[in-house]
């Protein structure tokens, strides 16, 4: 077989693979993130501990890794927690439970909460990260 035929066929195969990976990942990431937004992130404060529940359902066609981390800052004191669930199969649901002690400070009204949700597919080759900062002035 001629070298140029092999090269041309390989180029088409690689480009096709890139497009398929991109479409599958975008579909899975958007579906999972939409589900998190629809279900809502539940935050509870109990006995000086902040509990954050992040429900996630994989609405795509490929397994995804879901990770969440939360960080709270009060008067320069930082408390954080993170959790990751690997390979959530398509159509399956999971809940990420994060628990972190609330740092004691004179003015807890000035607390700043940083929440980060990460969705990865194909063993971390493709990913989407959503982070939010709430409060803190």
């Amino acid at each position: 077989m001629r070298a140029r035929t092999v090269l041309a066929a390989s180029a088409i195969a690689v480009e096709l693979a890139a497009v398929i990976l991109l479409v599958l990942f975008i579909d899975a990431a958007i579906a999972t993130l939409s589900n998190v937004a629809e279900s809502g992130i539940r935050v509870e404060r109990k006995d000086g501990v902040l509990q954050v529940h992040v429900p996630a359902r994989n609405g795509g066609f490929v397994p995804v890794d879901v990770a969440a981390s939360v960080e709270i800052r009060v008067d320069g004191q930082i408390s954080s927690a993170d959790e990751a669930i690997e390979s959530v199969p398509p159509g399956k649901s999971t809940v990420l439970d994060l628990r972190l002690p609330i740092p004691g400070g004179p003015d807890q009204a000035e607390a700043e909460l940083n929440l980060r949700i990460e969705i990865e597919a194909f063993h971390g080759l493709l990913g989407m990260e959503v982070s939010g900062r709430f409060g803190g002035g």
Partner: protein
Amino acid sequence: MREGVEQGLLLAAVYILGLVAFPIAAIWRAPPQLLQALSRLEIDPIAFAKTLSSLGIILAALAVVESLSDRGSLEWLLASSASTLTGLVLAVYVVSAGQIWSLGNPTAHVATDGTSVSVTLRLRTIVLLLALGACLRIAGKVAEYREGVLPPVIAREEPRARRES
């Protein structure tokens, strides 16, 4: 008309329609709220459409040059390689949502009073695969050019055969 020119002109028309006419029409017909929302995400839709149009015009011109030149010639190699590289730039620009220097890791950031949300995509693998595809494509074209330039073995042996007879 010369063989291949029709195909080149058709390809150029597709580039003009898809990358020049369509983005302009989309911006013209888009609701102002959508344009405003995209601007808040640090994505300038007008700059995006302008870049797509510019790349579309370059691709159309290269498609015409490629179709007018002889397949396997140096002009054909240069035009088709430039076309492949322009296509790669276009793909990386689209995958990077207009932030081409992020090379597939675009970030959108929205901030209001006391709250800020940012979204980052990590699509560098896609960019690498597209770049690999472009390299293979260009290597194939170079191989075709070399096949055209190097004379066949029979042609080299022909004078000696003639002398012997």
